[in-house]
Subunit: 156 residues, 2 copies
């Protein structure tokens, strides 16, 4: 059994519809394609049941973090809360990266809706994993030629 971006979108949107406490216009197909790409570790273009289970476990745990930081029950979190949410999920970033994330994923009122929050976390997880996979000698530096660079960044 393999899951496509369309199918993932249906599953995710059926779930968020039931959670009135999460503000979102739903997951865009483009977001789900990006998620499939980032979770698709065997390069099949879809995710298998194992990859879906991994994604699902992550989403449930990130949803708990989101709800915990949405202290005013607005259904969104602000950029300050986002910073702590990212830390709680175990991602260690610098200040510049926190700013970049807010700029990329916040809406025009500088708040982060649930679908953007999940997209951001999926990408963070995917990009940390890609870095570790390429840093074979573990020295904290990766060396890439242009084709390796494009292979990692175009399928995201």
């Amino acid at each position: 059994m393999e899951i496509s971006a369309d199918e993932l979108r249906n599953v995710l949107n059926n779930v968020v519809k039931k959670h009135k406490d999460l503000k979102t216009e739903g997951f865009a197909l483009e977001s789900c394609r990006s998620m499939i790409a980032l979770m698709d570790t065997d390069g099949s273009g879809k995710i298998n049941l194992e990859e879906f289970k991994h994604l699902w476990t992550k989403i449930k745990s990130w949803q708990n973090i989101f709800k915990q930081y949405d202290t005013d029950h607005s259904g969104t979190i602000n950029s300050y809360e986002m910073r702590n949410a990212v830390k709680d999920a175990g991602f260690h970033l610098n200040n510049q990266l926190y700013d970049i994330i807010t700029m990329r994923y916040a809406d025009r009122t500088m708040n982060i809706e649930f679908d953007s929050f999940i997209c951001c976390f999926v990408r963070l997880e995917g990009m940390f994993r890609a870095f570790r996979a390429f840093d074979k000698d573990g020295d904290g530096i990766i060396k890439l030629n242009v084709f390796e660079w494009l292979q990692l960044t175009m399928y995201a």
Copy 2:
């Protein structure tokens, strides 16, 4: 004057609505946020008029390529046509990258709609530019630590 992702989305969707020969469900907000990120060379979170003009010129020229390859006038192009379209736009890729692009941007019938086509080209352009900017000594290899890697890939 600066242009946000919402505004870019309105502009793009107003244009594609007038072109009945381009198959698309319209540009998703997520796609437009990604485009803003990739074109936002001064890191303001929006694009200025200069950056918008650059994007617009590119989109018009890519639209011409798209129409040229859509020989059966289906409003989409297939993965074989995509390969030639990418070449015509001046991007030199290897076979693995052509496959990756199809997997990432094609719909379930393996055709590429106009909005996905443009998103793919914006990302290719952005990623080639990012590589060149980092390859200061021009040796064709970039070296990145994890923060540099995330700065380049999270804002995309």
